[in-house]
Structure formats: C-alpha cells, structure tokens
Amino acid sequence: MGSRWTVPRVLALAPDAGSAKAARGLAGPRTWSELGSTESLVWGKCQGSARAPYQVTVDLTEPAFRCTCPSRKSPCKHGLALLLMWAAGDGSVADLEDAAPFAADWAAHRTTRTAPAKADPAAQAKRVAERESLMSAGVDDFELWLHDLVRQGLATARRQPAGFWETAAARLVDAQLPGLADRVRAAGADIHARADWAPHLLGELGRWYLAIRAWRHRSELDAAAMGDLRTVLGWPRRRDEIGDRVSDRWWVVGLSLEEDERLLSQRTWLYGERTGETVVLLDFAAAGQALKVAHVLGSVVDGEVARYPGGSPRRALLTGDEHKVTPGSGLPHATDVRTALGQAARWLAGNPWLRRIPLALAGMTVVPGDPPLLADPGGAALTLAPGTDLWQLLALSGGQPVPVFGEWIDERLHPLSVQVDDRLVAL
C-alpha cells in the first residue's frame, strides 16, 4: 500500500454521478461490519436490503472490485463507499495483518486467474517511495510541532485542551505515522494522570525526537535499528519480509489482551528454553471479531518462530501448523529485580524506543499500599501500574513470595501472570 488514497481519487472511479452520491451516503460505519484492510486489500460487510450483508472487497493494486450485491455497475456504490471510509483514515477501517476469509479467498482466486500477476517491482518501488515522501513530510511537520512545544514549555503544554494532542495525533495518522500518533495521544492522557508527568513527558519528547533524527538517517541504519524505527513510527512489515527463523521449546509465560473501540490486540510472550530468548507474538482483530485461538498460558510450544527485524525482545510469528504442545512448569527464567532490570538495560541499549519490557521476577511479595508494590527478597521494589487487580494478586499469593511475569511500561509494572505451585495463572 502506498499512501492512503484521497477522496477525489476514489470518486474518480465512480461509473456515474449517481453511484458517487449513493456511495457518499453509505460511507458511514453504521451499516458496515467486519471492516479491515491490509497492504493490498480493503474489505467489509454492508447491510443492504437483502437479508445477508453484502461482502465487499477491493484489491488496491489495480484496483479491482468485488461485491455480492446484485448491481451491474462496477464499481458498485458499496465498493466506493468502502474506499471512501478507508480513505478518510479515521480508524473505522482497521489496519490488520490478515484479510478476512471472504476477502482473502477472492484475492487468492484472482491471483491464480490473473497469474502470473507477480507484483510489479517498479510499481511497488513507486508505492514505497510515495509513502516515504509522505512520511518525511509528516516527520518535518512533527518536528516543528515539537519545537513549538519546547519553546513554549511543558507547563504551557499541560494547560492545553485534549484537542491539542488529538490534532497532532490526527496529523501523524494522515502522514502514515500511526505509531507516533498513538504515543502522542497516550502522552496527552498521561500528562494529567501521572504525578511525575513532567519528567515522563520530557523523556517521551526525547524518544520522539530520536525517531525524527533516525528517520532522516535511515539509509545508515542496520536492519534491526530500521525494524525498531518502523515499529515506533507504525509502518508495519509485510509477512513476506520476515524470515529470521529459530527453533526452540517456547514457554508461554504471559498473555495480555487490549481492546479499544476498533481493535482487539493480543500479545503472547514466549521464552525460548534453549536460546534464552524472549519473543512476543502479536495478533489483531477488528473489534467484535474473534482473535485467533490464544496459546495456553503455562504451556510449552515446540516449534519454529520467524522473527521480525529489530532489537530484542523481538516480535515473532509462529511458523508451520502442527506444534507439539506440552504442559510447562511455571516461569523458567525468573530472577530478582536487579538482574531483570539489568537485562532490560541491555535491551534498551539495542532499542531506545522499547516501551513494553518483559520482566520475569522470582520471589515477589505483594505489598498493598498506595501505590501497591511488588518487592523481591532483597527489598528491591517495583510500583504496580494503576488498574492492577491487587486483590487477585494478593489472593493468588496468599502473602507468600511468588514468581511474577509482567510488562514494565513507563517505569510501572503491569503483572500478567503469577506462578502458583507449578502453574501459571493469568491476571
């Protein structure tokens, strides 16, 4: 996918003025479900006058349209409306890794029929160049915004209404920098939610600025650094770009599920018994859709993963279909707090933007209080994130020191699992 299309570019495809008008009327999320897009496909289901919703799919490379409605126009109003919503870029059409089955089937069918429709390398290079120039413009714009913010001071920024952060984030989305947009939005919320908002915001500004400078020097970056930069900017990898494979017995040590109004995301943390490497699997689904079946916490998956380019801990995909799954016996790699933070420092040296840092901690005592803490046998303590279910943590520990796995985010621990006897229990 190159840059997101503009509305005029979509409407130029309409076979007549009536279709364009009808498409504009249909281009609202009300009548649509299962909306999603990948690099090359946009799809969704539209509830029309028929009982079953029409299945609408657009292949962006040509573009080619398919809709199950009876209209003989091509593209029909449903296909146009779908593209209009996608072009609006307001997030109603989720960016996903995998196409919905009905869309993927059609695309696969088309590829075999129009074979050898090998992606045209020249066209692909052109699309990448388009995206890069859009991103570069967005990065320049973001730098000016950061300069303004620093000139006026963080204290002034704190008095800004929520719209100040939202507008900046929306512009980053338009410039195909959704990763930065998410962090700007989060910073706008944190500024009122955290007691240490000022040092936290200054640290965030530093990391964003680092991304700006890194983007300008991207031709000098190695593959891993480029991978981390792409993650922070929000430029996803295509599946065929990952190939760095490693086999191990992977212990499923933590699961976390997050849901907002349009996306369900699941992270599965794996620890490789032989390599000692920690990787994370990411799965997404549009809100209201089912995720791929989760891995069972505490089990051990014997198999091969393909790792995305980047610094450790790396994102990965489980490859192959059949994996041998056996029960595990808890957290194989738990350490005290200092050792775990030492590991975190080594990871941060490789990836300065690393935000979710997995920590496997042994012998942690739950200390209720304000804020509640987890302390290791030496007394080294981590602050629990607000929103942690302290009661459940206490109930599981019974006041005994327990091994805990969690994500350390912005200097606060979000516990994901606790080892009770030889079993991991999700929080």
């Binding site: 000139r151 001071g153 200054l202 400078r213 933070l341 300065p352 030496g378 019974g398 006041g399």
Partner: protein, 472 residues
C-alpha cells in the same frame, strides 16, 4: 542540580524564556550531537538523557516487614469445570431469568458438602458477592476458607469475612466500634455461644440502651437455656426496646421459667371445653413478661392479649390432641398457636396448623416432605397457591416435582408458574428437567413471558445438575 534537573527546568518554562545550549549542558554524550537551535538542543538532550534514565533506572528499596501469610488450606481445589461455573455465576456472565444468586448458593453448598475450595483467583469476586448478599455471608466465609479470611483482612469492606484469632477477641471487643463489636459477637456466637454471652455480660450495665438491644439480637444465633438468666435480667431493663428484645428471644425458649409463667396464665383462662376466656388488664408480672397493649389487626384488646399469651406458652402444655383442638378453636386461638409453633419450631403443630390453614410462613417452616405433601393436596391453582409454592422449602421430592409441573401445565396456571419461578428453579428435582422442556416445546406462539420463565427454570436445572456432578 543535576544536568537532568537543569534540562527539565528549561523544558518546563520553555526555551522562549530560558536559553539552553546543548554544548554547555552536562548531559552525557552531548558533545557528539549537533543541534542548530535551542529547541533542537533540548530535544536532543532529552533523547540522550531519557535513554540513560530508563536504562539506568534503579528500583526503590522497600524496608517494611511483610504481613504474615495466609494459613494453609487443606481442602483440595474444585474441578476446573466447577471453577468455571462459579466464575460465570459470580461475574454474571450467564444471565438467568431467575437470577444467579440461588445457583451461586447451590455451588457454595455443594462445595462445602464436598469439602473442596474454589480456586484462589476467584476469592475477590466471592467476597464481593458476600458483601452485596449479606444473608449468604456465613456460607461464603466457610467456603472462602483461611485464604479468604486472610484476604478480607486487607480490605475494610470485607471485614465481615475476617476471622479474629481467639486471643484477640476480648481486646477488639473492648475497643471496637459498635458495628465491629456486633460483627464480632455474631461471629463468635456461631462458634462459641457461651463465650459471646459472657462478653456481653461483662460490660452489660455500662452499655447504652441501643447497644444492649443490639447485643441481645446477636444471641438469636445459637440461642439456648444457658442464655436465660441474662434474658430474665433484661426483662427488668430500664429501656423498653431491651425488654421487648428479651421477651422476643424468650418466646423461642419453651423450657424457660417465663414460658412456665405464660403457661399458667393460659391455664387460668382455659375453659373446660378447651376454649379460652379473654384476659383482662395485664397485671405487673404479665407486663414484665412482655404482654403489651399491641393490637392485632382486626382484633380487640382482649383477643390480642390472648394471642400474646398463647404465642409464648409451650405447646407441650396443651394436653388435648393437636389436630382436634385446632378444628374447633377460635380464630384468635389459632393465631396464638401459630405464632407459638413458629417460635418453638414444633413440627407436629406446624404441620397440623398448615393443614388446617396453610400460609406461606407456615409452609416455609416445614420440612420439604411435609410442605410438598400439603401443597399436593391443594386443589386450586390460584395466586394464593402461587404464594405457598414460592415459600415451600426444598429440595422437592422427584414425585412432587414431576407432578407439580404437570399440574401447572394441565391447568394452564402460567401466573402461578411466574410467581413461583424462583422456587421452581431452586427446588425442582433434576428429573423434572424433561417435563419442563416438554412444556417449553409444546408452547405455542404468544406465550413469550411463560416461555422465558420456563427457559430460565430449565437453564437453572441444567446448571445445578452440572454443579452436583462436578462435586461428586
């Protein structure tokens, strides 16, 4: 001032007001970075410093003493399927027409019977359940076990579930608030009733009237003849509320000397034919024993006094045959006996009275067998019957369960069905599931309310059967 503090100070007020030069800053590594404006300088310095700060972050040291851990729980954990049912019930993820509370209670009772515990992770939800449904607390506390009691100690809103160690009871009773002392007594009363009463007696004379009355109410649990001296003493209390509370408790002790005095009063009023004279103005001793000027609805002063006297008279002193005397007795006399039977929990009298004129109160006090036998003999499936059925205790025998569903269906008694839906869901024998489902299938359109109720009952029966199966 560290280089970071200096940087933060500049960033807070802005480079518009305070200059910043990256080269002059003491930020590590600044010499290797260029910045062509003060803003770029602050941002570059922040980028460098943020990396050092995060990577070099040191944990704070906690120097407190950990609280003592929970006592071990020897009970084995319930099966994963049972745990899943409990979780669905507690989080209300299953929706039931008849409510999830009674099934939760079924689960807890089954777990208690089987001597198994819920998984620790469900304890917070379980304690939340007990906090809202106060009547279930004793059961919840039992099932939650030592880990639950320990956990409750960390959250003031769960204080009802805390078990106070025996050595600390006296101290806490002396220093607690009124509510805490009442909770303490209620707790102690179910384990060591005499010890609880002794605590009450120790400070009795110095407590305010409202506290004395509250303390007496806690004696209702585990009430026995050993409590009589205190209650007898309370009959002479300065406060009317305390005297009334004492009299109400003595109603439940047919072997007490006050019951004997009441029996003498009843004997004096009794005519040879078994009927009773109406008593006149109560004398001082009758007033002391709790005979008041309270009027029963629709009855005169004398009749109301007679009811009070009979209600406090031991039924064992009524020498004529139970059933025969009820048939011929006046309305006020029957009312007095009914109250006495309910207080004294006399099964023969309760059954006889219920046979004579069933009320929800009487039916509820019977054994399931006696209650269902009386209900089976009732001819009309009207709203009154619905009220009785709703009050009937369970579990209902299989024969009655099948029969009652059949009768309701044949009689098209959908109003009764809805009135008694909770009781049906709670008490029907598992074998009645098939007839409930049959009825549901045979139901035509236009019976949405009924089909919803039936579906709720069928659903509840299925879950209950699963619960029982998971605990065998």
């Amino acid at each position: 001032m560290t280089a970071w503090d200096d940087l933060l100070g500049t960033a807070l007020v802005g480079t518009g007001r305070r200059p910043f030069d990256l080269g002059d800053s003491a930020i590590e590594g600044a010499a290797r970075v260029t910045a062509d404006s003060p803003e770029a300088g602050v941002l570059a310095a922040a980028a460098l410093a943020a990396g050092y700060r995060r990577a070099g972050w040191t944990p704070r040291i906690w120097r407190g003493t950990p609280a003592p851990p929970a006592a071990p729980d020897e009970r084995p954990e319930c099966t994963p399927a049972a745990a899943q049912i409990l979780e669905l019930l507690l989080t209300r993820s299953i929706r039931l027409e008849v409510g999830t509370e009674l099934l939760t209670l079924d689960w807890l009772r089954a777990a208690r019977r089987a001597g198994r515990r819920p998984p620790h992770r469900l304890l917070p939800e379980l304690l939340r359940f007990g906090t809202t449904a106060a009547a279930t607390r004793a059961l919840v506390k039992d099932v939650a076990g030592p880990r639950g009691a320990w956990l409750a100690g960390h959250n003031p809103s769960w204080s009802w579930a805390v078990t106070v160690p025996p050595g600390e009871v006296a101290g806490r009773f002396a220093t607690g608030t009124r509510a805490e002392r009442l909770a303490l007594l209620a707790d102690l009363r179910s384990a060591e009733p005499d010890r609880a009463r002794e605590l009450v007696e120790e400070t009795w004379t110095t407590e305010p009237a409202a506290t004395r009355a509250g303390f007496l109410d806690t004696l209702r649990t585990g009430l026995s003849g050993r409590d009589e001296p205190l209650l007898e003493r309370a009959l002479d209390d300065r406060a009317a509320t305390v005297r009334a509370a004492a009299a109400a408790l003595l109603d439940h002790l047919p072997a007490s000397s006050r019951a004997g005095r009441m029996a003498e009063r009843a004997q004096r009023l009794r005519r040879d034919d078994g009927s009773f004279d109406l008593p006149g103005e109560p004398d001082e001793s009758a007033r002391r024993d709790g005979v008041t000027d309270h009027r029963e609805p629709g009855l005169g002063r004398g009749a109301s006094r007679l009811i009070q006297i009979l209600a406090a008279t031991p039924l064992s002193t009524c020498d004529s045959g139970v059933a025969a005397s009820i048939e011929t007795a006046d309305r006020d006399v029957v009312l007095g006996w009914t109250k006495a039977a309910l207080h004294q929990r006399d099964p023969a009298w309760l059954a006889a009275l219920a046979r004579h004129q069933p009320t929800p109160e009487l039916i509820a006090a019977l054994t399931p067998e006696a209650a269902t036998e009386i209900l089976a003999g009732q001819g009309k499936l009207d709203a009154r019957f619905g009220g009785l059925l709703a009050a009937a205790p369970g579990p209902w025998p299989a024969g009655f369960s099948l029969d009652i569903v059949g009768r309701l269906r044949a009689g098209k008694a959908e109003a009764v069905l809805r009135l008694a839906a909770r009781a049906l869901a709670e008490h029907l024998h598992p074998r009645a599931l098939a007839v409930v489902e049959d009825w549901l299938l045979a139901l035509g359109t236009g019976h949405q309310a009924t089909s919803r109720t039936l579906r709720g009952i069928a659903h509840a029966l299925t879950i209950r059967a699963t619960i029982l199966q998971e605990f065998t």
